[in-house]
């Protein structure tokens, strides 16, 4: 033992740097103190590594779930700001705004809280001041409304807001909202549709519904660094937009708008013409459709009755919401005759110059079929195809279509796509209905009625499409109402491509077109003549099927279809008026004048030059 100690001591004395007089005890004590601090420092380094590098998820019931300190830091130091992104506008083809987002206000009243400058104010006084500002209700009326729950007014314009604020009354609460506004009210409702007024802003009809993905802008969420400031005892957040990431641009939305093919001016005139015609004959409903035969765009689509999308919630009759020109089927009647002529010519069963026997009356499968003017005119004898169209002869048509075998005829009708769904850019299109193929082939009566446009049904839109094919040389164009996305200068950014299918030879459609011109020049369509302009057309007066499935003798659907101008067809126009009242209600008297008005409007707005010198009477 002693030896060992002695050796240790000697080692110590041999240490070169150690001061001579420093005892082993002193060294130990000093090292002990230093070592204690060193240990603490090492422990803290481990603790810091655990906090800063490992940073485990905090397991405590009051701590945020599954978060470590770094995640907690992120969530408390940043805030997500959801900015309101306005829905894109809808414009017509001349950039008139048909639908837009605008700011409006809801006014809430809390009569229990009516205080001005720390003094209570009577409800009567407030009703009086509100009435003078709003000018919609009498003070007494307002007073009654004060008690009701919910907002006193919705959709208050921004202009009244400063006046209401100037009253400086507690208990009047204005809340800012964004709402969809349709400046032209019902003028294009059947195409534009509407969106819900509530905060969901759910699109409900028309282009608003089908083009939702083009109309909705991507929502903007800003992730901003944030801190807080104590100001006058209130904690206020401070955002640090300077620290936004480059990918988060503040104004990343574009100025694109959805452009429709509609022409508001034409639409307005067409609606006026339709309304005037319907008023005259007290008709149940009506529609005017115009199609640009070269690209399938629809500059006019008017359905009556319609609705104001700004007040969609006030309508009791839900049928106003449907665009019946595309949703409802009807038997086209005589307006289908030119289509049948085109089918027969294309099949080669008749020549354009053929003479057809018109007996005025015939019996098919025990059914007696007459011409509409059989009583006055009787049998006409051999007449030409243009004459058949001019007189709208049912028997003549039956005799033309007889030449074609019934299965062939059926297949030709099918090829027109009557039964196929038309992919329109507004919702609700109903495909047409033909008879059963076997029935049609076996029974003569079905083919006979189909020859003059009865016994099957289609939508007015489909009929217009078929006539457009006559106008453009046999191309079945897909009708469309959306042109694409355009910017404020009208440059198109996204265009929906047009689609077409060849169904007839252009020589044949040219022949049919000229035949239809004679209808306006000399036949039942005389009403729609416009001096100096070449117009082709065809009237239609079809009986409606009543609820028992039989033809109703009193309910008629009158229509007129026109193609214009004949020398270089551009527009196909269809007017349909449902259930006009009175004795002289035919396509020629009810629908043709409407079409004439529409053509006159188009001529005026589009500046279409006359094709010949007007004849002098």
């Amino acid at each position: 033992m002693r030896k060992i100690r002695a050796s240790k001591l000697s080692q110590k004395t041999r240490l070169p740097k150690k001061p001579r007089n420093l005892a082993r005890q002193v060294t130990l004590r000093l090292l002990l103190v230093w070592g204690l601090l060193f240990l603490c420092a090492t422990g803290l380094a481990v603790r810091l590594y655990h906090l800063q590098v490992v940073d485990p998820v905090i397991a405590h019931e009051k701590a945020p779930k599954n978060k470590n300190y770094k995640a907690i830091a992120r969530s408390q130091q940043t805030a997500n700001l959801q900015l309101f992104t306005p829905r894109r506008q809808i414009v017509d083809r001349n950039q008139n705004v048909l639908a837009t987002d605008r700011i409006n206000y809801e006014l809430y009243v809390h009569p229990a809280l009516f205080i001005k400058n720390a003094k209570p104010v009577s409800a009567e006084e407030i009703a009086q001041s509100l009435a003078t500002i709003l000018k919609t209700d009498s003070p007494e009326n307002l007073l009654k409304k004060f008690g009701r729950p919910g907002p006193l007014f919705r959709n208050l314009p921004e202009s009244v807001v400063p006046q209401i604020r100037a009253l400086q009354i507690d208990g009047l609460d204005l809340r800012k909202n964004y709402s969809r506004y349709y400046p032209y009210q019902d003028m294009a409702a059947e195409v534009i549709g509407y969106i819900n007024k509530d905060s969901s802003r759910e699109p409900k009809a028309g282009l608003e519904l089908t083009q939702n993905n083009l109309l909705e802008r991507p929502s903007i969420t800003l992730r901003l660094k944030r801190s807080f400031l104590q100001l006058k005892g209130k904690t206020q957040p401070i955002f640090h937009p300077g620290e936004l990431k480059r990918s988060q641009k503040l104004f990343q939305f574009d100025d694109l708008r959805l452009q429709t093919t509609l022409d508001l001016r034409l639409q307005q005139s067409a609606r006026e013409a339709l309304k005037a015609g319907m008023d005259k004959y007290k008709a149940k409903r009506g529609a005017v459709l115009v199609m640009d035969v070269w690209d399938g765009s629809i500059p006019i689509l008017v359905c009556e009755p319609t609705y104001d999308p700004n007040r969609y919630n006030e309508y009791q009759d839900y049928s106003v919401f449907k665009n019946w020109a595309i949703t409802d089927l009807y038997e086209p009647g005589s307006t289908f005759k030119p289509i049948n002529v085109a089918i027969a010519l294309e099949a080669g069963v008749v020549t354009p110059n053929a003479k057809i026997e018109d007996t005025g009356k015939t019996v098919v499968n025990t059914h007696t079929i007459r011409n509409h003017d059989y009583r006055e005119k009787g049998a006409r004898g051999k007449i030409s195809i243009p004459q058949i169209l001019q007189y709208s002869s049912n028997i003549g048509m039956i005799n033309i279509m007889k030449q074609l075998s019934r299965p062939d005829y059926y297949h030709k009708l099918q090829e027109l796509g009557i039964e196929e769904p038309l992919k329109l850019d507004i919702p609700g299109y109903t495909p047409g209905q033909l008879r059963d193929e076997v029935e049609f082939s076996v029974r003569e009566i079905d083919a006979a009625t189909a020859a003059f446009g009865q016994g099957f049904s289609l939508t007015p839109m489909k009929l217009l499409q078929l006539h457009a094919a006559i106008a453009n040389g046999g191309e079945l164009m897909k009708p469309h109402l959306v042109k694409g996305l355009v910017d404020f200068d009208g440059n198109i950014h996204y265009e929906i491509p047009s689609q077409s299918k060849k169904i007839w030879d252009s020589k044949i459609t040219q022949t049919v077109l000229e035949m239809m011109e004679t209808v306006v020049d000399q036949g039942s369509g005389k009403v729609s003549q416009i001096p100096g302009y070449r117009i082709a057309g065809k009237t239609g007066t079809a009986q409606k099927i009543n609820q028992t499935g039989a033809y109703d003798e009193t309910a008629k659907i009158t229509s007129f279809v026109a193609i214009f101008p004949v020398e270089n067809p551009r527009y196909a126009i269809l007017a349909v008026v449902d259930e006009p009242k009175g004795r002289w209600t035919f396509g020629s008297t009810v629908a043709a004048p409407i079409v004439k008005d529409v053509i006159e409007t188009i001529i005026a707005h589009e500046g279409i030059a006359p094709s010949r010198e007007p004849e002098k009477n």
Partner: protein, 389 residues
């Protein structure tokens, strides 16, 4: 006039090149510590200054006043022989003890955060519990170095004065400073080779007094152990610590960069004083923290080397005392910020804002450097030559 100018020039006094290498190294390390602390303080206090004083550099300006005063004191202490400084220490201890008790007198003491620690002095305030630290080191060194040669009367008197000091700081209340001073005094005593039975009985006595106090006031215990589970009350008692932990953890490996702490903007309370380390660690990350810890340990190790080399026991104990106060206080501050010790208000030497704290820290550093200068016989000879010229 020129001879007084040296008191104003910090660290680059022309005499420095004649100092021992330990003294020179400590001189420069103190300078670096001060500068890094100042830079961190600018970063930590700028947003607070902007919000509360409409001047981002408000706190920096006040801190600079402290630094000027502190450097004058530092230069005086480093240039004065330790023996002479020791002569004034008993008077200073007693004077500051009196001031400590004055802070508890209503009307004289200034209450901040529910504690009377300050005596208002115009736009500034005096914190005697901070300023007493260097003199406690001196007095404890003086007492424990000559412990064997002193009668129990003198021993008892000074122990009583120390106890009174601790009690005075405790009733402010300032538990953390009390604990720091108590532990430091005890560690100086350990270094002074006092017999273990005496040391242990004193420490047991201290601990039992503390235990008794806690047993008497259980709410204090709750407060003290809250640091173990700050999430029990994340919006209340645990808020400060949680925010500090979030700041430290946000630093990650390399930190967010100087000036880029997010937590200092509003979330972290008392960010320029007690929790300044949290701002530092958010901005410099784990690497920065490791460097800071290594730096502190390097400082402590050189202080230990100075203690080994010093000629007299008093010098040795002063060196150890300074090491315990500067290094120990830094480590306690880091431990508080990282949730390793109860949340108490103890400034980080040379980092935290506080004129009294910076003066006390510079005085302590000055004492250590003085000891280092006197450590080598040869160098002291040079000093004498210098004094002749």
């Amino acid at each position: 006039m020129l001879q007084y100018l040296k008191y104003l020039i910090p660290f680059i006094n022309p005499q420095v090149r004649n100092w021992t290498w330990e003294a020179r190294l400590l001189n420069w390390l103190t300078c670096i510590w001060l500068l890094v602390g100042l830079i961190t303080l600018i970063s930590a206090s700028y947003p607070e200054g902007v919000i509360e004083h409409q001047d981002g550099f408000y706190i920096l300006k006040r801190q600079l006043i402290g630094i000027i005063v502190g450097i004058i004191a530092f230069n005086i202490v480093t240039n004065k022989p330790l023996k002479e400084t020791l002569k004034i220490s008993p008077i200073m201890v007693l004077f500051l003890l009196l001031l400590i008790f004055l802070t508890t007198v209503p009307g004289i003491g200034k209450t901040v955060y529910g504690a009377r620690r300050w005596i208002a002095l115009g736009p500034f305030s005096l914190q005697p519990s901070e300023l007493i630290k260097p003199f406690l080191v001196l007095q404890a060194a003086y007492l424990f170095a000559r412990w064997k040669n002193l009668t129990w009367n003198i021993r008892g008197t000074w122990l009583a004065i120390f106890s009174l000091t601790l009690a005075g700081i405790l009733i402010q209340p300032n538990l953390s400073t009390t604990a720091l001073c108590g532990m430091s005094l005890w560690l100086i005593a350990v270094a002074a080779e006092l017999p273990w039975p005496q040391l242990l009985s004193v420490s047991l006595g201290g601990l039992s007094v503390a235990g008794l106090s806690l047993w008497h006031n259980p709410y204090q215990w709750d407060r003290i152990v809250f640091f173990l589970e700050p999430w029990d009350d994340p919006q209340g008692k645990g808020y400060q610590l949680i925010q500090s932990l979030i700041a430290i953890a946000s630093g990650g490996w390399s930190g967010s960069g100087l000036g880029l702490s997010q937590q200092k903007l509003s979330y972290l309370p008392i960010r320029s004083t007690d929790f300044i380390f949290s701002v530092y660690s958010e901005e410099f990350g784990f690497i920065g923290c490791l460097f800071l810890l290594l730096f502190i340990i390097l400082y402590g190790t050189i202080a230990l080397r100075v203690a080994f080399k010093s000629k007299s026991k008093i010098q040795r104990l002063v060196a150890i005392g300074v090491m315990v106060f500067l290094v120990g206080q830094s480590l306690i501050n880091i431990a508080v910020a990282t949730g390793s010790l109860p949340t108490t208000g103890l400034p980080f030497p040379f980092f935290s804002y506080g004129i009294n704290s910076i003066v006390a820290s510079l005085l302590l550093a000055g004492l250590l450097i003085r000891v280092a200068r006197e450590g080598s016989k040869g160098k002291v000879l040079k000093l004498k030559i210098e004094q002749r010229t």
